[in-house]
Symmetry: C2
Subunit: 331 residues, 2 copies
Amino acid sequence: MSKTYQVVGIGNSIVDVLSHVEDAFLTENGIEKGVMTLIDLERAAAIYAITGPSTEISGGSAANTIAGIAQLGLRTAYVGKVKDDQLGAIFAHDMRAQGAGYEVPLAPADHEAETGRCMVMVSPDGERSMNTYLGVSEFLTADDIDEAMMADAEWIYLEGYRFDGPESHAAFAKAIAACKGGGGRVSLTLSDPFCVERHRDAFREMIKDHVDLLFCNEHELRAMYQDDDLSVVLRLAAQEVDTVACTVGPKGAYIWRDGKETHAPADKVQIVDATGAGDLFASGFFYGELNGYDTLTTGRMGCVAAGEIISHIGARPETDLKSLFAKHDLL
Amino acid sequence: MSKTYQVVGIGNSIVDVLSHVEDAFLTENGIEKGVMTLIDLERAAAIYAITGPSTEISGGSAANTIAGIAQLGLRTAYVGKVKDDQLGAIFAHDMRAQGAGYEVPLAPADHEAETGRCMVMVSPDGERSMNTYLGVSEFLTADDIDEAMMADAEWIYLEGYRFDGPESHAAFAKAIAACKGGGGRVSLTLSDPFCVERHRDAFREMIKDHVDLLFCNEHELRAMYQDDDLSVVLRLAAQEVDTVACTVGPKGAYIWRDGKETHAPADKVQIVDATGAGDLFASGFFYGELNGYDTLTTGRMGCVAAGEIISHIGARPETDLKSLFAKHDLL
């Protein structure tokens, strides 16, 4: 009997606040370019006060992936915490509206923290620098994990970012145990090199013991295995998990599986906003994986979905991804 | 001595909630295409629940105009009411960030209404259907009008939409009296044909007695003077105000001044989202007017600014408008 869910994602529930900045703005305000930095509410307010007019759009890394998966018509759900406030309502609406069954452990309206948000500052070259206030997203605990849902999933998809938080490790452990107990498989995304620095040992243990499919980019993988040689760290990772899917920017992705490397090339795309490239790569990859496509096609689906997301502002797909797959002769 | 403000706008403070819909969605849900319909909070929630993933971006007709004027470097301010809630904070941030001195009579966090929002549903042809919940925006009263500010403005810019509300007529009357008392001039935008239907007599009185510059489109002007012949209603309006600036979609605008008609043609633009076309026409027009350009150039500036706004999602300019004027040899 097929399971209710093909992929269940767990991640930070974040509303993105997108603005355009010059690189000098980043330097002057001590904002590190191209990475995600965690900030508190006070710093979030200070940065917001000096950024230009913004656009608000639902984000969150795993949430973006699940939105893409839902748009591709797979059976999916997302678990992440928002508050009962206006930004929380926006986030929840956008997940449901995309067709992603949304499991929302709602923090009460009087919770001291607010719904999480991410100041996404887009430079003229399309690179994005993210300053994230996690808010109530950080307070997702083991109590918020529904074991029956995890056991009823073919895959769970764990967001590395979600490891930032006092009780997140226990929440992930509970989700993993329930999923594996139900015969499901576990995927993890490393999210960001600095996230890897913060959680290297815990990630490593999870990878070795539980992870079947690892999503990462080259910078994250180098940080994880502490070696600058991409071919070395790819081999190290491939020894520990069934499948490694590592994106390498405009060059596409390297996929390691059964001791073999496959290179899935990316198409040339005019980068407007790089936010969500890795997230949507995972959406496309899951589509290929769950529909039994070969490794190259599966990787190419990831690249095509990533290419769609970087061609516009925001990290949720605006074009029908399946039509794009067809256009690229992948279906 | 030059005045502190070149243009002060008064309007509805609204956050736009943009989504893409098929025309069938509008028909099925009784939403009238291409116009602005007022709705209550309950209906707003019901429509929000069935629309797809959305993008939130500050809107409001006069607010869009003032944002454009601020981007053009004119001395400007905006008066409109938001609540002390998350959407209110977003609206206020975006006005300040654009450089528009923002006068915010803030409704308290426990006010029964919320910050206003407008469900902007964009059809495949780029036409937008707007369902607006005015929220606290409706509660702008005469008490919120700072007479010293109005007296210190070369122009005030009144949004027709803002006439929907129990105390708005008194607020406008106070603003007009203070502005005229200070030697300033009054402009009005008719906003929408249905808005004209709701307030025809009050608008007519205001036009005859106080308005120096009338912004409108052909549909609004026909509704105002109840005749289908555009040349007839243009002449009728021109008898009552110094300047009539009437947009006619892809054909540009007709400007009546000193008994003479000037046609300012629009450039061919791929329409992505028509929201804000009239608002930004007014921004460009004010730039020409306040810098002493001839009528044709002034009208063309309006058309070029309108062309920028309809080429992307959202009603706030994303490109430097002055550079666009230069590119079109208008400066």
